[in-house]
Assembly symmetry: C2
Homo-oligomer: 129 residues x 2
């Protein structure tokens, strides 16, 4: 079995911390000039300080979720770029079973892979529910 791509392992670790109420996992692997898009933030977030302020809203956990699913991940990689696409779902809590599309664009830097772009969106199964 091929080993898991490094960015997928990084994403899992950050999500594990996220679901325990610790947004620092994502902040530690995000680039200074990261760009972030989701359906709730009124505007695109440009840069690490903006993302940090936003993520602080999620410290302590998300609606009682106890875990998550990272479904059907795909990695595209070229040069020093890797894109991770997956479906995310919370286990437990108010959002149990709702599905999200998540895309992360990573850049390989001297310090390791860093997230340059995050785009979360609500997936069909959730829109229809």
């Amino acid at each position: 079995m091929p080993s898991e791509h490094e960015i997928l392992a990084m994403e899992r670790q950050a999500l594990e911390r996220w679901c325990k109420g610790d947004p620092l996992g994502f902040l530690e692997i995000s680039a200074p000039d990261v760009v972030y898009v989701d359906p709730y933030s009124p505007k695109r977030l440009d840069g690490w300080p903006s993302l940090k302020s936003y993520y602080e809203n999620f410290r302590g956990g998300v609606n009682g979720a106890t875990g998550f699913g990272l479904i059907d991940p795909k990695v595209q990689e070229w040069s020093d770029t890797a894109i991770l696409t997956f479906v995310f779902t919370y286990h437990g809590g108010r959002d149990d079973g709702k599905r999200w599309n998540c895309v992360e664009v990573y850049r390989r830097t001297p310090s390791g892979w860093r997230i340059m772009h995050t785009h979360w969106s609500i997936a069909q199964a959730t829109l229809a529910s």
Copy 2:
């Protein structure tokens, strides 16, 4: 005034064709191994042939739209990668004024910039309406 980034000009041209009912504009600038995510397709689309089949559903126009807005674009570029993030809205038709988040990841190839990843999602203003 700085000139517009090449991928932004390409995106505008593809959107102009899209809004006239011609999805080929996007197909012509998408890579063979493009990945596509939106809130309506039940699954992620992997590869140009899958995207072509999907885009054929939009031939002839989208709900009577007569034009579009490409709002607040941002380009991140490094090596042979460029990410375009913007808010999209239709003018006219049934979806007039609804807002979308759109992110396109382009890769520079010997043939020019090509879309490696497209992610459309419904933006807050539309979710709330």
